[in-house]
């Protein structure tokens, strides 16, 4: 009797474990494919630290007057702003767009776009472009 129960327990347990392991449909935010060759930092780094880069960039540019191209918000938007069916850019802080979808998913607010533009300048080339931050 006890052995039967143990077997049943182990079987159901391993079945459950198997189910959990095979299911890998990733839920969560989906963002439009970015243009450009590659990001200015590795993806893993960007996911964790993009806010620090942007804040550092803000302080360096706004308070100390140091203007560089790396980590420029304009650069982010040039690659990550998607075009709608009408061929016009969709603002990056629209629902389900590059910035907003993840920020909505985790309830993180952005205050970048109360000042900064949410679409690239018309005619701006994505990769290696000269962003004037």
């Amino acid at each position: 009797m006890t052995t039967h129960r143990t077997t049943a327990f182990l079987l159901s347990g391993s079945l459950f474990l198997g189910l959990a392991l095979t299911a890998n449909a990733l839920s969560g935010p989906k963002i439009p494919q970015a243009r450009g060759e590659k990001c200015v930092e590795p993806v893993e780094m960007m996911r964790r630290n993009h806010m620090e880069f942007l804040k550092h960039k803000r302080d360096a540019t706004m308070r100390w007057g140091i203007r560089t191209e790396k980590h420029s918000l304009v650069g982010c938007i040039e690659c990550h702003a998607a075009k709608g069916e009408d061929g016009k850019y969709i603002p990056v802080n629209d629902p389900d767009q590059a910035c907003r979808s993840c920020h909505d998913y985790t309830a993180v607010t952005m205050d970048c776009f109360s000042c900064h533009a949410t679409v690239p300048k018309e005619g701006a080339a994505p990769a290696g472009s000269k962003g004037d931050s």
Binding site: L19, A23, N24, G28, R48, Y105, A107
Partner: protein, 250 residues
């Protein structure tokens, strides 16, 4: 799927079960324990509404502690309500789409994290510095504070110093509660944070942390002061009564 993800996932299912079943069992025991004597600490309320108000004062404002010791009260209150707000802020990892009010209190939760850790640090200092308190402190009293402090500090560090990939973290937690496992980012602080939380969940039903459900079952706080208006007769005493009456009648 990494070994780490599998181990942490299994750990959280186990600790979740232990927490829920363990606390439910404790509450069942509290519920069934007879309290045959009317022993509310006077002045005590005369009505049920009054008892509700008294318990509210205990649970929300720690009234007895306030009357007992102001330092312990302010530190304990900082810790408990900091922790409450931090826990509510964590609901963003367990709701999709996130409830509107959880979205609304995110910024409060960030500051509450500091309040929680400050309160805990103060309580630990009290336990170490106040001679009388140190004398009556068991190792578990210290370890409980250290565990909570570790959880708070690792959380604050992830928020303010060494970030983790919170989108992946949420995919992991949502995967846990929908039984559709997702990979956990292998960041040391995150792993430490989760391991300590699981430890806390496991020891909860076997430790002093049970004061959370226990306060509601405290006879000196949840009874009405009605010994004259109503006779409080326990079953076993009622039987004695019957025999005595029948004895007197003869």
């Amino acid at each position: 799927m990494s070994v780490l993800t599998i181990l942490i996932s299994l750990l959280f299912y186990a600790s979740g079960l232990i927490l829920i079943i363990g606390v439910a069992n404790r509450i069942r025991i509290y519920w069934r324990t007879p309290s045959p004597l009317v022993i509310p600490t006077t002045p005590a309320p005369l009505t049920r509404t009054g008892v509700a108000a008294r318990l509210f004062g205990e649970v929300v404002f720690f009234q007895s502690l306030f009357r007992g010791n102001k330092w312990t009260w302010i530190l304990g209150w900082l810790f408990h309500f900091g922790m409450l707000l931090v826990l509510l802020r964590h609901l963003r990892y367990f709701t999709d789409p996130i409830w509107w009010w959880v979205d609304l209190i995110q910024w409060v939760g960030v500051y509450a994290g500091f309040a929680m850790v400050a309160g805990l640090a103060g309580l630990l200092v009290r336990r170490l510095v106040v001679e009388r308190i140190r004398y009556i402190s068991a190792p578990s009293d210290h370890l409980m504070l250290l565990l909570l402090l570790g959880i708070g500090l690792s959380g604050l560090m992830m928020k303010h110093l060494v970030h983790t990939d919170i989108v992946s973290v949420k995919q992991f937690t949502m995967g846990l509660i929908t039984f559709d496992w997702q990979p956990l980012p292998a960041d040391p602080l995150l792993i430490i944070h989760l391991l300590m939380v699981a430890t806390l969940m496991i020891i909860f039903p076997f430790s002093k942390l049970l004061h959370a459900p226990g306060v509601f079952f405290s006879p000196t706080r949840n009874m009405r002061d009605t010994p004259r208006e109503q006779r409080n007769l326990a079953d076993w005493a009622a039987k004695l009564d019957e025999t005595r009456h029948s004895g007197a009648g003869e």
